[in-house]
Symmetry: C2
Subunit: 308 residues, 2 copies
């Protein structure tokens, strides 16, 4: 009961070295991704260079970290979760490459570097995105598969989160919402899909790689959903409050594109309150882990207080 | 031995009603695809309309037919092969949608109808392609999975054929080859990837759905590879010899784009000979089936003699 009680108050992130966890997680993920992807010289070299360019463009690897932290919370081994962590990062990167295209957000910079189509041209950028999406499934197939979660479930999990009713639905709603008046409900619909879907999938895949019982999978789903929403609200806030240099991408872009954002609809202060509230719910979702989900808690706290 | 001997001479397509097989196969596939895909009104409706627009644009469903015919050749049941047949058609359709984009082949017509981006705009066309690719894996996950070929193998099979070293590699080589001098060897590399990879995958998935022994899987691989190459040589020939009306797409496009094609490199007559030779090899590959691969043989004969 003591452990449970602690979680009602402040999250137990004291004593946990998140920087060390993230450094180790990023190292593992980068090495594994490098091994999973065809070498840069593999024919067609342009394509494989383009895939690697965006995949190794200095992303924060938050989604893979979420997979690994969730695996750890369920008593799993990081090495077993690694292929799924890499698959999720491939999905994330593909969605950024396509999202940056002129026909979509038309962004010139991403993570402080020219976007994929700026370097390789639109045709190759489209194909590199396609290839990263396909690669995600090839990598997920390398996962061991678990009694409660065989490969069939892993494939369904990723396809559903990345598919037309979740991740891509978010992109569509985002695209169609530009310049239009958006209600808070519509904005929530967009954020649930554009961001929560994949973060939720990341947390769930981590649990699956530990063959976690249903009660833990439900907790991770709840956690991922709320962290995802909080993450996107904060992204919106940062777009308004930070400079391009800090963000490593064009700041104020959402406002200029008249994109629906929380600050635009409910104001900055209210947006901050919503983000804090959502993170509170995320912490609450971790109660069933009784203090074993320290990495997840630290990650959530980090995501709420990040400044870029 | 009698059955074997027959195959050394002319393929045993007499007595087999290919039209009936194709009609039945197309009917099954269309009904199944309709069931697998989110309804047209499912939010976001634009996206699901765009996915369905290209998926139901009157394609010949040759790849799904190949899956079903291969299943039949191995003694499997069509119903069991159906999810894999639908998955392959989703991959094929996605690749066409992206291939038609202005940044790629920039085609206005496909199967006699305006291309996806002409109707829905580039942004939605890119996302609809992404969604169809993702949907393919979601559908493949619905397959039963077989002792020799569990879901892990199905996922790998599709991801490999559709991925950066096969299907997408073909698109890249095609894109980079435009306007450049191409050697016959390079052209073969392109065709192997652009067309053979997915046809080969289709034949193999059919066999897998019948839990076929390795010897049959090898035969189907060999068959699919050669039919695929023949199919693409014929496609090149038709682009030169047929009108846009017959083809249902812009004819002579390859020549104008200075694309590498067999007729451009080795001439029309030699191209016809190569196509016939490749089809001969495809028939030869079916010998291990000892006359049970009638649908596959009829399909191959049909593909060689088609006029659009």
């Amino acid at each position: 009961m003591a452990a449970k009680k602690r979680h009602h108050a402040k999250p137990a992130v004291t004593g946990f070295d998140l920087d060390a966890f993230l450094a180790s997680s990023t190292g593992l993920v980068n090495t594994a991704l490098d091994g999973f992807l065809p070498a840069e010289k593999t024919r067609p070299a342009t394509l494989h260079r383009a895939m690697r360019y965006s995949l190794f463009a200095g992303g924060k690897r938050m989604r893979p970290a979420l997979v690994l932290a969730a695996a750890q919370a369920c008593g799993g081994r990081l090495a077993e979760a690694l292929p799924l962590a890499c698959a999720v990062e491939c999905i994330h990167t593909y969605s950024l490459v396509h999202d940056d295209l002129p026909a979509m957000d038309n962004d010139d910079y991403r993570r402080g570097k020219p976007t994929n189509h700026k370097v390789f041209g639109e045709g190759i950028a489209i194909l590199a995105g396609d290839a990263l999406l396909t690669q995600a499934f090839e990598i997920a197939a390398q996962a061991r598969g678990w009694p409660r979660y065989p490969h069939r479930d892993l494939m369904l999990e990723i396809a559903y989160a990345a598919g037309s009713r979740q991740l891509i639905a978010g992109q569509v709603a985002d695209l169609e919402g530009e310049g239009r008046k958006t209600s808070p409900a519509q904005l929530k619909y967009i954020h649930e899909r554009k961001t929560s879907a994949l973060l939720c999938c990341a947390a769930r895949l981590g649990g699956m790689s530990a063959n976690c019982p249903p009660v833990q999978l439900r907790a991770l789903t709840d956690f991922g959903y709320h962290v995802g929403l909080a993450f996107q609200v904060i992204d919106d806030i940062l777009d308004v409050t930070q400079t391009s240099e800090t963000l490593g991408k064009t700041a104020g872009k959402d406002t200029r594109a008249r994109k629906a954002t929380y600050p635009a609809i409910v104001g900055l202060e209210q947006s901050r309150k919503i983000a804090a509230q959502l993170t509170g719910r995320a912490f609450a979702a971790l109660r069933p882990f009784r203090g074993r989900a320290v990495a997840l808690e630290a990650l959530a706290a980090f995501l709420l207080h990040r400044e870029s």
